[in-house]
Amino acid sequence: MKATLTPTLTLSLAMWRGFLREKMAIFFVLLFPLMFLVLFGGIFSDQGQSKGTLIEVGEVPMLAELSKPARTALEDAYEIEHSGDLAAALDQVQAGDVDGAVEQHGDEVVVHFSEADQVAAATLRGTISALVQGANVASTGEPPRYSLVSQQVEDESLQTIQYVTPGLLGWAIAMSATFGAAMTLVEWRRNKLLRRLRLAPISTGSLVSARILVSVGTALLQLVVFVGLATAAFGLKLTGAWPMAVPLLICGTLSFMAIGLLAGAVSKTSEGASGLANLVILPMAFLSGSFIPLDASPQWLQTVSRVLPLRYLNEGMLDVMVRGQGAAAALLPMLVLLGFALVIGVVATRLFRWEAD
């Protein structure tokens, strides 16, 4: 057994202990992102199940004559209320309290809707239209010629949690790597520990390696906690070459450490450094699809996201963790992240100062 640890391990151990003992750091690295996971995964996942409301004004024979499966499908989607007062029903539609009102005059089925909620309006028209078509086919007495089977292209179990876990994990890793590097640099420069270490017989490489070890360790901890909670509580299912998330996350950590070192190099105080890191990371998280899926974003935003390292981390993680892609899908994002790390790292090194003055 060696009597002493290497400088790198010694410094890592000191930083790791200091990190684990700081409650605020643990909060921002683990609990804060997990709150978002619970929020997105727990609340928004029920969104699809919410029922609309439909008012049946007077008698609508078309609805009464629906086949059993059609009736069930309708009742799954809408709560059906009955009313004899068309004007009152229309007021309710206009106020947005209900999705629509249906009435029937002879063979004509009339559906009243509001364009205020375009998605609800389209869904309602589509539903009623399908019911009318079905009733028409049924009235001919012929069996339908075509039948429709619908299948989702992703895993059939795909839920919101599948999308949000990799994105939020990417954001969490970006945050902790950036802040970890920036704070270490600024605080150690301020309390002159950096100067004390400069007077010790250790290389700058040992110091940087130690910080990398601690940041990668933090990122792995985040991965385990995130995936663990998402799997246990919200039914996350990992698909594809998900172990590739580990090398991806290491490359991501290097990129964001470089950003943190840059923020630390140009800031004099820890408040300044944390403000600067926030200023960079928070908008980047929005623009890189950490909170909102990029596929649903406008084209310009998707273009902007291409210059942001977090986009590549998020996309790579989505590919290997939930989109069922193979290991090769992680390679390009990893290369891009290493490229960012290199370029930003060189700039940070140029601006680096040992001393506060």
């Binding site: 400088p7 202990r17 004390r196 017989p201």
Partner: protein, 301 residues
């Protein structure tokens, strides 16, 4: 005496238009406790930083243990120990964890750290985080971290700044033992009494230059400075005291009578005759007087 441990020759460092160090030369001998004394801004810390290799000089030369400290020389760093003005520690580690960390960084076993904690009297605080230690305890821990690898040369930059008088005295006892084992110590301070109490030789610095360099005794001996006597007056009237032959100045503050004289033996005899030696205190010329003589200015730290 052997070869000098530190050789500084015509050292210069300029910040903008300020000559922080302006042609400083001195040698520090093996085993010596060497002090650099001067008011804030005299250039003491910059001189020390140039010797430690933290900064590059603009002119002149520095040899530390026969080598150049600049650019950063890792082999040399292993042989020196530097205590900084600020207490620079890792966040949220206990005293024991701090010293073990420094022990490992210098490649010495953790046990050496424990022994060092014992030596500075912090064993009972070993499990306390540094955030909870007092100023004096922090300085002791800082000193322990500086000494853990048994360096040949120790640099102390204002080790007792910001400590209360009691904590300062306690630390002096510890600092006084540093060169017992033949170690060389170089200290900066703006406390005159500290330099007198600890240093074998003192360089007095002001405005980037060394004004005088000698043992504290030799520096004060050369002065034509008055000795200060103070007594509790008792039956002695201040006006009578002022009339004693040899008394140059007499002050009475309501409690004690202070007399200045260049003939202390004669004045003491006169006071003894009058049976007025109660509460007698005698203070000879101090480094403060040296500073006053050298610069024409009162010494203010």
């Amino acid at each position: 005496m052997g070869e000098a441990v530190i050789e500084v020759s015509d050292l210069r460092k300029t910040y903008g238009t300020v000559h922080a160090v302006d042609g400083v030369s001195f040698d520090v001998r093996p085993g010596e406790f060497f002090g650099i004394l001067g008011p804030n801004g005299a250039g003491k810390t910059t001189t020390l930083e140039l010797i430690e290799g933290l900064r590059e000089s603009d002119g002149g030369s520095v040899q530390l243990l026969g080598q150049r400290p600049w650019p950063r020389n890792q082999a040399l760093l292993r042989r020196i120990g530097v205590q900084l003005q600020a207490s620079s520690f890792f966040d949220r580690l206990t005293a024991r964890e701090q010293i073990h960390t420094f022990a490992h960084l210098y490649g010495v076993p953790a046990a050496a750290g424990d022994a060092m904690l014992e030596q500075v009297g912090l064993t009972d605080k070993a499990s306390t985080r540094t955030e909870k230690l007092s100023g004096g305890q922090l300085q002791r821990l800082s000193l322990a971290c500086t000494l853990v690898h048994d360096p040949e040369v120790v640099f102390l930059d204002e080790p007792t700044a910001a400590l209360d008088p009691q904590a300062r005295r306690n630390l002096w006892d510890l600092l006084g033992t540093l060169n017992d084992s033949g170690r060389t110590v170089i200290l900066t301070t703006h406390y005159m009494d500290e330099a007198e109490a600890l240093c074998d030789r003192v360089a007095i610095m002001d405005r980037g230059q060394v004004l005088a360099l000698d043992t504290p005794a030799a520096l004060t001996r050369g002065l034509d400075a008055a000795t200060q006597l103070s007594v509790v007056p008792g039956g002695l009237e201040p006006s009578d005291a002022a009339a004693i032959p040899g008394v140059e100045d007499c002050e009475y503050d309501g409690e004690s009578l202070r007399l200045s004289t260049r003939q202390p033996a004669r004045v003491l005899a006169a006071l003894a005759e009058r049976d007025a030696l109660d509460g007698l205190q005698v203070r000879g010329a101090s480094l403060e007087d040296v500073f006053l003589t050298l610069t024409g200015r009162e010494y203010r730290a």
